[in-house]
């Protein structure tokens, strides 16, 4: 039998349908893989019993010919999604022991589609970070190593547990969330596909909020087709989320025609940032060549506000976070450190419950919303955000999607940037504008850097046009022929 953990979602789905193996066998192989990747610290909570029980019922459905789109496919869930009666932490000490009495809409959609849950994945605390080193549960390691260098690397973040688990073949796919690049950057770092859908495509209900106007759930998979399959199941209008879009969800998999002839694809000149590594530049050029070979037309475009995106993001996201995280006060759930007064309890609980990065962002956010600073920071940032969105709207008069690098570099070592928040924030320079404009973006593995680590290309689309970027990503995926594997693979090392 083929190695079941090496399959893509599409292959596993077809294998189950053809009865080449059972859901229980597929799940058991992945449960073992989850155990095998423990050294990576990708999971905060493993749920093998639940997974096997779900697999049994999937087998029964398969037998009855009632298979749903993700029937029996083992996935893992970023621990930012609330899962009913299963510990949900946001990788924060402050949510100690929190077992939600409800299931997030996105995960519920997955279970309703027949998927199996392997466990809850590590992340940067409250999804704040680009390295998965700010977790209360310790950093997640990338399954990759640099050529000739055995130092542990970050898997990117904040969906680093998701990235590591999928790359190391411990799950067929995983959910991520992306506020400023938290799906695409880790996908790029570990050589998998990561899709951030249009804001409003996936419900935010039951997903722990970081920055409400930017957060968006999406799939992280080992192929573009898998991303299409998984997104279809995750997405959909949800009346419980006022910002969820009442848009029909197309059959994304059917959109993967491989035909991009005549498509105009924008190449934004402002993304050639100062000091950009030559290998990134070269990778980007290869991408341009691939789409040209496939019959698409690269068009140079201008997104002049790009240089303000990072600063804008680091005002808006912390502002919203400072308010969203006010509810973690020790009163109703999670950690409580007793104090002599209510104020003292707040102070002690939040000082102990939140890590340094979360505290930093709460402070920044509180500051930019304060009387006397609001206009200069928050309000101005909102105006710039509008201009950034207008940049894209202008560009989309000329082109149908946009091609850029996903990250300015390959993965870095754990601890390498942790004392320099600005350098860390720079990781998001290519991904953040997409969140600010609410657009869909996908990172697809395109090659290896000089250090032997994966690099991704990003395709940005029009709002609610995930179909086009999936199609373009599919073409890049085939052209790139990315077959490199991480050094650490479940059941292989």
């Amino acid at each position: 039998m083929t190695n079941l953990t090496d399959l893509t979602i599409a292959e596993a789905r077809d294998g189950l349908a053809a009865k080449r193996f059972t859901a229980r066998e597929l799940t058991a192989a992945h449960v073992a893989a989850v155990e095998a990747v423990r050294p990576l610290n990708a999971f905060i909570t493993e749920t093998p019993e639940l997974a096997l029980a779900q697999a049994e019922s999937s087998d029964a459905r398969l037998l009855r010919g009632e298979a749903r789109p993700l029937e029996g496919l083992p996935l893992a869930i970023k621990d930012l999604f609330c899962t009913k009666e299963v510990l949900t932490t946001a990788a924060s000490h402050i949510l100690d022991g929190f077992k939600p009495p409800y299931e997030s809409t996105v995960t519920q959609n997955l279970w309703d589609a027949g998927a199996v849950m392997l466990g809850k994945l590590n992340l940067d605390e409250f999804a704040m970070g680009s390295s998965t080193t700010t977790s209360f549960y310790g950093p997640t390691e990338s399954p990759w190593r640099r050529d000739g260098d055995n130092r542990a690397l970050v898997p990117g973040g904040s969906s680093g547990g998701s990235a590591a688990a999928v790359a190391a073949r411990a799950a067929l796919g995983a959910t991520g969330t992306d506020t400023g690049g938290s799906i695409r950057q880790p996908a790029s770092f570990v050589g998998i596909v990561g899709l951030k859908p249009t804001y409003g495509r996936c419900s935010r209900w039951g997903t722990i909020a970081f920055a409400s106007s930017l957060d968006q759930a999406g799939p992280m998979t080992r192929s573009v087709r898998d991303a299409a399959i998984m997104l279809k199941a995750m997405a959909g209008h949800d009346p419980k989320d006022s910002t969820s879009a009442p848009q029909a969800v197309p059959d994304f998999e059917a959109a993967l025609s491989g035909d991009i002839r005549g498509l105009k694809i924008g190449i934004p000149k402002e993304y050639r940032v100062d000091g950009m590594k030559r290998e990134i530049e070269a990778l980007w050029q290869r991408g341009i060549d691939w789409i040209k070979d496939a019959g698409a037309e690269p068009v140079e475009i201008s997104l002049p506000m790009t240089k303000y995106a990072l600063a804008t993001y680091y005002i808006i996201a912390p502002a919203e976070a400072s308010s969203n995280l006010a509810r973690y006060d020790g009163v109703r759930f999670g950690l409580r450190v007793p104090g002599k007064t209510l104020d003292e309890m707040y102070e002690l609980t939040r000082a102990e419950g939140f890590g340094a990065e979360v505290q930093r962002r709460i402070l920044i956010g509180t500051y930019v919303l304060s009387a006397g600073y609001y206009d200069a920071y928050y309000l101005k940032a909102q105006r710039v955000r509008t201009l950034i969105a207008r940049d894209f709207a202008e560009a989309y008069k000329q082109v149908e999607c946009i091609l850029t690098p996903t990250t300015p570099s390959t993965a870095f070592a754990i601890g390498e940037k942790s004392d320099d928040p600005i350098a860390m924030y720079l990781n998001d320079v290519f991904t953040v504008p997409v969140n600010l404009a609410g657009l869909p973006g996908i990172s697809v593995p395109a090659g290896l850097g000089e250090d032997g680590l994966p690099l991704g290309l990003q395709v940005i689309g029009r709002a609610f046009d995930e179909a086009t970027i999936l199609r373009v990503a599919g073409v890049i995926e085939r052209a790139a022929g990315f077959t490199a594997r991480p050094q650490f693979l479940a059941g292989r090392s």
Binding site: P100, Y102, W205, I208, A209, S212, S242, S323, Y374
Partner: protein, 483 residues
Amino acid sequence: MSLIEGRTGEWEVVIGLEVHAQIISNAKLFSGAATAFGAEPNTQVSPVDAGFPGMLPVINRRCVEQAVKTGLGLAARINLHSVFDRKNYFYADLPQGYQISQYLTPVVGKGSIILDMPDGSAREIGITRLHLEQDAGKSLHDQQATSTYVDLNRSGVGLMEIVSEPDMRTAEEAGAYLRKLRSILRYLGTCDGNMEEGSMRCDVNVSVRKPGAPLGTRCEIKNVNSVRFVMLAIDYEARRQVEVLEDGGEIRQETRLFDSGRGTTRPMRSKENAHDYRYFPDPDLLPLILDPAWVEGIKRTLPELPDAKKSRFVRDYGLSVEDAGVLVAEQESADYFEAVARGRDAKLAANWVMGDLFGALNRLGRRIEDSPVSAAGLGEMIDLIADGTLSGRLAKDVFAGMVETGASPAAIVEERGLRQVTDTGEIETAIDAVLAANGDKVAEYRSGKDKLFGFFVGQVMKATQGKANPATLNEILRNKLAG
């Protein structure tokens, strides 16, 4: 305008009111949880109201409709585009760590309320705005010595904050404003106006100034929970401010609490740190966009409001402005009156409703909805007066019987034999008997002592047990005495 006399001359009091009116709706403003008053603590709470992770607010259409209806009832501008903001502060009964409110762009803009003052004058008080916001939970500090309990039943309940312009100048005006606002809200069915249960709460802004001077620094008096207390608080606070200023002091802008036991106000917290609420648009909610046709639809469902009803009562029923004002203050009284007055002598109906009926209800401590005398019953009784079955005097007895037993007037007339005697023969016989028994008085009357007429009437009434038709009695008696 009435002024306060101080040592240094006259002072003008400037008053503005912020009323928090709980919206009548089955569910909360942003969650599906129920809103009934008096439920067991923490039984009407959804994870949204408890601020659980990942929970999101969804606006309750019914609450928006109620706010728009109220705005229309206050002749106010309806803002078709409004925004929900977060007001951030920490407190144990504020689960999210912020209150969802409307800061810069409320759903309702400027409007006005007309006050009818007791001296017959009318005052127009400006409404600055009405916005939607969620209520907080309740901290219970008295359950246990060392801890505070939190009840989240109220958390997330929809409120309308209705802010007036600083247009009021006396405690009486403030009282009239609150009563009129409450009346309008009840007519509209958007708030029950119950200040004791806290479904209508009031913060009072008071400042004083020399007439013609710019506005003085104001103090805000929090949560004063009856109209009477509002008036007491204003009187006390105005005098306090005048005293401070006349002693050469300064008014600090502060929040004060009304002490209903002492009738005084005092600063709320000694270390009242200046709150910075860090308002910003709630990213979980889209701007509230109203369809003009929807607003028009609500407008068409508006009931007749007190002012319009009052004018109609004056016009159609010939009532005095004062009487009409009393009858329309509560919709139930107005409806009751109209049911009685329809097709009858309206002034007589008004007199019975405002006189005997209100008197009886007051005595019994009952509301007009629970009146022992139905409008139909009172109407029948007035019919009996009109057709001569009852005299005014007999009617009082019948009414008393109706209050007591709830029986129909016809039944009481039958049972107690209270039918008016209009048979001239019977009355004549009674008169003859009285005149015969009082020959000396008859002589006195005939020699010019006209005042004795009343004595004869009284004697005849006594003889007929009050049932003689007064008009007939008068006529025959006069003739006989003249004879």
